[in-house]
Amino acid sequence: MSAEKNNKQGQQLPLTNPATLDSHIDEDDIEETSPWKDTCKHLQKNRFAITGFLIILFFVLFGLLAPLLTSYSYQGQDLANRLQPPSSEHWFGTDDVGRDIFTRIAYGARVSLQVGFFAVTGALVFGTLLGMIAGYFGRWIDTIISRIFDILLAFPSILLAIAVVAILGASLQNALIAIAIINIPIFGRIVRSKVISLREEEFIMAARAQGMKNGRIIFHHILPNSAAPIIVQATLGFGTAILDAAALGFLGLGAQPPTPEWGAMLAGSRDFIQLAPWTLIFPGISIMLVVLGFNLIGDGLRDALDPKMKN
């Protein structure tokens, strides 16, 4: 009878039979994805993130295609046509030396995106390195590096940036360095805390138990798993770097003329707010949009990569 059969089955240790051992996998249950594909899928569903992506794409193209979009040069002055309001000739009007604002904004997109890119890359490389070292090796190395981070973070970032620029001299490049420097502890801390929490993870301990060397553990196990917060911070950092560069530009400590950096454009036009508001409105909106774009993407990435991540 069936009951007997059942009984037998139980005693006939199914172990030796690989077919039964091959634990049943309901193929439908399996998501055919890698962690990265998963993220992309997530992102595609996030309307905010897509908007952000489109905004950035727009500015990238705007910057790249600038020479095709406009016949003016970003430094070509036309003193006879200063402070012209927006018109079919000058879509965004002209500034106080008669340059076409649309053109300057287009070329300015290049500047801002580059600033974001280099500042973030610099901060990311050094921050990640330091954070990694501090987090992984701990002890006095950690104490020293963390203290330095603490101290750097005790200064309001823009103030520190101003001081750095004051030391190095005012230029776009130095502003960029300053922004990178102020961002190092931010990345560093994120990486450090991530590494510390990962260090306690069992799969890292497992890696050590396999007899892996520190280098391998750091680069093959810890780094890829710390990527999520780093990527999110990098995206958001892109935005803040652009904002900071604009602030430095506005204070005259960033890009120097005739570089069409948006913050510097605002600084140069601040006296014309009543006379020619367009000289301020368009660069301001551009900054806002680009930063918004990065924030939207960063937010989306945060949700996609690690919904539980905060800050």
Binding site: F48, R147, I148, D150, I151, L152, A154, F155, P156, S157, I158, L159, I162, A163, A166, I167, G169, G239, L243, A246, A247, F250, L251, G263, L266, R270, I273, Q274, P277, L280, I281, P283, G284, I287, M288, L289, V291, L292, N295, L296, D299, K308, K310, N311
Partner: protein, 333 residues
């Protein structure tokens, strides 16, 4: 808890030492010559040299640092090279001005941010939530100085609703006692003046407070949402607690902790951001004081100003940490 506070204070010591080291080195790294600065555009090299000597600028760095720190401990921030006035005396009104501005900016940011965050979390995925969060995202993306200029243009120039500059009506200055004008006016029981001062505070506070407001709103929302998924909230519900009890008693208090951290950190951002806002709104604050000092290479002022701002920032975060202990009984280490 006092032990915690003491430990927290002791923790500050290395940070403070590091800060003095940094401010000291910033000043020594900044190219330029203080003696030249004092003597101005028409001084001879020799005069510069003499002055350097009398100022002790040719001493070894270690010794200069020692003197700097000893003076600091005595509460002496040095003398401004430009104005020859004692910085300790000169800096206070600037700190007060910035503090007042930062305070109101933060007040604005917290009030709007926290409430928007709560409502967003409560009505998750509603149109309010959507708009508030979109607005918050835009808010974190606006350059402070641009917002300030636009406000000035629209509300001071075009509409004339608010004053374009300063802390109060310049025709009729207050007899300052504490240098916190709102407080001073209250001490004088001069309520119309309180109103005037608040009116002056409004535009710069909004300009300065927008970014923190947006960040606080987002933080409040996400931390509320997270808390609302927690087990203990489910417990409250299982006891028969309604949405109001859940949100305003349990969720809010628990969500406050990360929000407080953000508030502490954002205050630092505000102190920094004040440099821009203060220039645009002619606010005689510390940011402008330092920035001008950098422009004129007024080294002692740069040094002290940066140090004081950083110190304030550290203190605010200390207060935040201490506040935690009131909110969160778990903190005791």
């Amino acid at each position: 808890m006092t032990a915690y506070i003491i430990r927290r204070l002791l923790h500050l010591i290395p940070v403070l030492i590091g800060m003095t080291l940094i401010t000291f080195s910033i000043v020594h790294l900044i190219p330029g010559n203080p003696a030249q600065t004092i003597l101005g555009e028409a001084a001879t090299q020799e005069a510069v040299k003499n002055l350097e000597e009398s100022m002790g600028l040719n001493e070894p760095y270690i010794k200069q640092y020692g003197i700097y720190v000893t003076d600091l401990l005595k509460g002496d921030l040095g003398t401004s090279l430009r104005t020859k006035a004692a910085i300790t005396k000169e800096i206070w009104p600037h700190i007060a001005a910035t503090f007042e501005l930062t305070f109101f900016a933060m007040l604005f940011a917290i009030f709007i941010g926290v409430n928007a965050g709560i409502i967003s979390a409560w009505k998750q995925n509603s149109w309010f939530d959507f708009l508030a969060m979109l607005f918050a995202l835009v808010g974190v993306s606006i350059p402070v100085f641009w917002l300030a200029l636009m406000e000035q243009w629209v509300f001071a120039q075009e509409l004339g609703w608010f004053p374009a500059y300063g802390r109060e009506n310049s025709r009729d200055p207050i007899a300052a006692i504490t240098q916190f004008y709102v407080l001073d006016a209250l001490i004088h029981l001069d309520f119309p003046r309180v109103f005037t001062i608040l009116k002056h505070l409004l535009l710069p506070s909004i300009a300065l407070g927008t970014i923190p407001m947006a960040i606080i709103a987002r933080m409040t929302r996400s931390s509320m949402l997270e808390v609302m998924q927690s087990d203990y909230i489910r417990t409250v519900r299982a006891k028969g607690g309604g949405q109001f009890l859940v949100i305003y008693k349990h969720a809010l208090k628990n969500a406050t902790i990360p929000v407080l951290t953000v508030i502490g950190l954002q205050t630092g951002v505000l102190l920094g951001g004040a440099i821009l806002t203060e220039t645009i709104f002619s606010w005689p604050g510390i940011g402008r004081y330092v920035f001008e000092a950098i422009n004129y290479r007024d080294y002692p002022v740069i040094q002290s100003g940066i140090l004081v701002i950083a110190f304030l920032f550290v203190m605010i975060n200390l207060i935040v940490d201490i506040l935690y202990t009131y909110i969160d009984p778990r903190i005791k280490y």
